[in-house]
Subunit: 200 residues, 2 copies
């Protein structure tokens, strides 16, 4: 069985601990996980449903947080009930199944093993090179160098904000940053070459 990149991410989060849908969105934001996989807010519930149907996760209903509140001694039970009303709705909590854990491991190993197609805006732009004027094209490459520096700063900052991170998560940031650095060097070198050579 194959699951998508976003399904793998959700499965991993549910495998860490039982979680409900809204909590998943919070964790995804808090841990900046959209850096690694594109996932829309609205698709989380849809994907959870798919994972459940295939027996990779199980759902049970929880009212735990609500009951805890109502049992606080001395609390005005009427107000407390009103205030916590959004929480009184039974919530679906998801856990990983044995089968789900097996698929999770297989798919994670497969992601490590197999390279994925990687399309870059850079090659898509270069493909149209003959239609551009020398000045415009070279200026655009200079702008790209600045964009790469900004992205490097943004990602380094994000990595710093998240500390302490486990080794493997720092490795993810380091990898992303190493690819940016490599692209920067390539663009710089190529822009210099394009500047010296006769135009097209």
């Amino acid at each position: 069985m194959e699951i998508s990149d976003t399904e793998l991410m959700l499965l991993g989060l549910v495998a860490e601990m039982p979680r409900h849908g809204y909590e998943l969105e919070q964790v995804i934001v808090h841990r900046a996980m959209r850096e690694w996989t594109a996932i829309g807010f609205s698709s989380i519930y849809f994907l959870l449903g798919k994972l459940q149907k295939r027996g990779l996760i199980r759902a049970y209903t929880s009212r735990a947080s609500n009951r805890t509140k109502a049992q606080i001694p001395g609390a005005d039970s009427q107000i407390s009930d009103q205030e916590s009303e959004p929480n009184t709705k039974p919530r679906k909590v998801f856990t990983v199944s044995k089968k789900g854990m097996r698929i999770l491991k297989n798919q994670a190993l497969r992601s490590l093993r197999e390279i994925s197609a990687h399309y870059s805006s850079l090659t898509r732009g270069l493909l149209q090179w003959p239609f551009l004027s020398r000045e415009e094209a070279l200026a655009a490459l200079q702008d790209r160098l600045e964009a790469l520096r900004s992205e490097e700063d943004r990602l380094s900052g994000l990595q710093l904000d998240q500390q302490p991170l486990p080794d493997y998560e720092n490795a993810m940031y380091d990898f992303a940053l190493s690819q940016i650095e490599s692209e920067y060097e390539w663009v710089k070198r190529t822009a210099e070459y394009m500047e010296t050579k006769p135009w097209n």
Copy 2:
């Protein structure tokens, strides 16, 4: 007006010279353009329709290739007609409009200027690191190194097969290869580090 990556590629091909739909598919295959942008065979006609509706390309009807065949002196016109029957249908030929050329240039410069999100199977796999055993994870990284070498060979071979290529197309291959090489070095370094450190 913004157009998609695949629309930009089609627009560029039509801007090179007037082309009909099936010819576009042939050029895309022949020049291995799916290395740079994912485009399905069936979506070409749909996207051409979209570009036409927005006034970026124009379509006219051509029977030219058919007439040429029928006029070859001494040809058995009956057989020739039957043989060329698939070609006798009037064909829609697409050309770029003035507006289309403007959008093409703008979008190409934008692609050069702006970096795009880049999701890698590597970081998606690393994210699930805690669920994996040391042996499995390290073996998967070794497999990835082999996959990267194969991809390097495949892409270099493709570049060689296509020679002679203009400078900017060689640059596209060089860039893709430089990203693969950078990833290879990173995976090698990281696998060595992960091997020496205590597991999770």
